[in-house]
């Protein structure tokens, strides 16, 4: 006679798997967003050396100074996400106020990422402005033409290869966020973990605190790696093989990874996000001729 322990164990395994797979079906039953991204936003990632799985890591622009300038993730948004922001940090005489936020735990949220839209244009302009300032500074210091030329090339390469995904909003209600950003081909809604920081600004000359405020940031994506299904690996396999050939002699402890993007992207990926805002890859295509556009690594260095 089969004992009850075995029956209970088999039932548990069956039920848990059924729930997990039903959740997947439910997620994919409704497409919330479908976007075509490239290597700029989805870099190849592999785990352990012996792990044969292939992933694409979702990259987004994390520049906090840009976020601060845009001022979209302030106290009001933090409150909306459930952070307790009741202690006022703007009163500079209250030295203990920041301590109230020392142990705030990160919270779950949904973030809206805009792809190749006004936020990207704004970010690119900002980077160009900063670059111009850097060039002016180099010229003032009478740096050589070679060095200036290298800096300009590096800047151009960065603009050509950087991720064009930028976070533009956060919230807890996915439906409401989708109502505010209805275009599912440019705006992704993604589960993230958000954190709260106390930011300060000092007078550079006098070293005095002149302003203090609360600011939020996206710490991490809850699904940072997209698994590449077996049927879509072909478009990436050549990159892995190249990397494996290059690293065969040294055999480092980590798996062979394609060289990081330094020119035109080498593949494009169609990704869908479903009802639960969990993604899946629907196709991967090689971009022909893009490999030739990859600059030699030594130029970057």
């Amino acid at each position: 006679m089969i004992r009850i322990g075995l029956i209970a164990a088999v039932l548990l395994v069956a039920v848990v798997n059924a729930i997990a797979l039903f959740g997947v079906m439910r997620n994919r039953g409704l497409t919330d967003a479908r976007i075509v991204l490239t290597e700029r936003e989805l870099a190849v990632w592999r785990g352990e050396r012996e792990d044969t799985a292939l992933y694409l890591e979702l990259e987004w622009q994390r520049r906090s100074d840009w976020n601060a300038r845009r001022d979209w993730f302030g106290e009001e948004k933090l409150r909306e996400l459930g952070f307790d922001v009741s202690v006022d940090v703007t009163d500079l005489d209250d030295e203990d106020a920041p301590r109230a936020y020392a142990r705030r735990l990160d919270r779950r949220a949904l973030a809206v990422f805009e792809h190749d839209g006004p936020a990207w244009d704004d970010w690119r302009e900002e980077q160009t402005r900063l670059h111009e300032e850097q060039l002016d500074d180099m010229r003032r210091r009478e740096r050589g033409d070679d060095e200036i030329e290298r800096s300009e090339r590096s800047h151009r390469r960065m603009l050509a290869s950087a991720s064009r995904l930028l976070a533009v909003d956060v919230g807890l209600d996915g439906g409401e966020l989708r109502r505010l950003y209805p275009d599912g081909s440019t705006h992704l809604i993604v589960p993230v973990v958000a954190s709260l920081h106390v930011e300060s600004e000092y007078d550079r000359d006098r070293g005095e605190l002149i302003e203090r405020w609360l600011e939020g940031s996206i710490t991490r994506l809850r699904v940072p790696y997209l698994h590449v299904p077996h049927q879509h690996r072909d478009a990436l396999e050549h990159l892995i093989e190249e990397a494996q050939r290059a690293e065969a002699a040294t055999r480092p402890p980590y798996p062979a990874m394609p060289s990081s993007l330094e020119g035109e992207p080498r593949y494009r990926v169609a990704v869908s996000w479903g009802r639960r805002f969990e993604p899946w890859i629907t196709s991967i295509e090689r971009i022909e001729g893009a490999e030739a556009a990859q600059s030699p690594p030594e130029e970057v260095r």
């Binding site: 004992r3 164990a9 459930g82 142990r103 919270r107 698994h227 299904p229 077996h230």
Partner: protein
């Protein structure tokens, strides 16, 4: 790890206790005979020896009990080998799957760990039936649990599912089912730790936190979970699996005292954000001394060896922390260690006196 089923496991533990009693009785009888205090008549002595020999043989045949010290030592060795073997085999299953899954289609990727889990469960049942000691059932039970962990990890990765604390509950539930179904202690340990982890993480996610953070940043949640685990055996009687309650008390007590120790150093980590962190640390250091002292007293009163040992170890850690806090900076080190040593000695004498007093009372 010994035992086959709830009923058999009880009988096996009872059988082992009976054999131990017989061996102790024979030793004492031989000692009394040597001292010329008691010598049984020859025919009674022979009858008794035949009865005991027959009984021990029968119990050994039916329940695979240890009938000598050498056998007991070997049992520990076998238990250790079985555990280490299980861990190594789990790691092997994990790495083997990861080394091949890139070349598998999605249905095979998902189906293989499920099939592995079910196969390991089937083997656990089979070994529990044919192998009396339970070593092999324990080994395959742990592999079943590892395959189930792999199963959910693979589904999560393949389908890009956002990580959830609910997986801890599923894994913990399988650990507990294997433990209670087959009388296995290693799956019980895994099950208890996973379910405790789930409780802490769930308490955090219900408040909107990311699930991993509460496991290490909200010590008070661990404290509360540990307390509940500690008292579970009081509400849930283990008439058959008598080795299980000490494990609940051990891991529950460990969670309570570890969390108290962490808060004794890290007041900012407390739930009470409005209070001064230094005061919180003071309070938890004192609470740690009280709780570990209470663990010793309760352990002595109820004859819970693991609780006494746990309380004793933590009591001296808390004592050292407090003394360090007060005196380390200004006191000559030889005086510091002298005071600590003398205090430890005084505590030992106090515990011995308490033990004498309490063990005289009925439990």
């Amino acid at each position: 790890m010994k035992g086959r089923s709830r009923a058999d496991s009880t009988t096996q533990q009872d059988a082992q206790r009976r054999v131990d009693r017989i061996r102790a009785f024979r030793d004492e009888l031989a000692h009394l005979a040597d001292e010329d205090i008691l010598t049984l008549p020859e025919d009674e002595s022979r009858r008794l020896a035949v009865y005991h020999d027959t009984l021990v043989r029968e119990l050994s045949r039916r329940f695979d009990v240890d009938t000598s010290d050498a056998q007991k030592r070997m049992s520990w060795g076998m238990r250790l080998a079985s555990f280490l073997g299980a861990v190594a085999l789990c790691a092997s299953v994990w790495f083997f799957f990861h080394s091949i899954w890139g070349s598998l289609t999605t249905p095979v990727q998902v189906g293989l760990p499920i099939a592995g889990t079910l196969a390991a469960l089937g083997l656990t049942e089979l070994f529990a039936r044919i192998e009396r000691s339970g070593y092999l059932a324990g080994l395959t039970g742990l592999i079943a649990l590892a395959c189930f962990v792999l199963d959910l990890v693979v589904i999560g990765n393949v389908f890009n599912i956002a990580p959830t604390e609910n997986a801890l509950l599923a894994w913990g539930a399988l650990g507990l089912i294997l433990a209670y179904g087959y009388g296995l202690r290693v799956p019980l340990t895994a099950g208890l730790l996973l379910v405790m982890g789930f409780a802490v993480a769930k308490a955090g996610t219900l408040q909107g936190y990311a699930w991993v953070d509460p496991l290490w940043r909200l010590p008070e949640y661990s404290l509360a979970t540990g307390l509940v685990t500690f008292v579970v055996p009081l509400a849930l009687r283990h008439r058959a699996l008598t080795l299980f309650p000490p494990m609940y008390r051990l891991f529950g007590g460990l969670a309570v005292l570890s969390a108290t120790l962490v808060l004794g150093f890290w007041g900012e980590g407390s739930f009470f954000t409005r209070l001064d962190p230094d005061s919180i640390e003071e309070a938890y250091q004192l609470a740690g001394l009280f709780l570990s002292g209470a663990a010793i007293a309760i352990g002595l009163w109820r004859s819970w060896t693991e609780t006494v040992n746990l309380g004793g170890a933590f009591f001296f850690v808390f004592l050292f922390v407090k003394f360090f806090d007060w005196w380390w900076d200004w006191m000559p080190k030889w005086i510091f260690f002298l005071i600590f040593g003398l205090t430890a000695l005084a505590s030992l004498l106090l515990i011995m006196a308490l033990r004498r007093r309490l063990t005289g009372r009925p439990a």
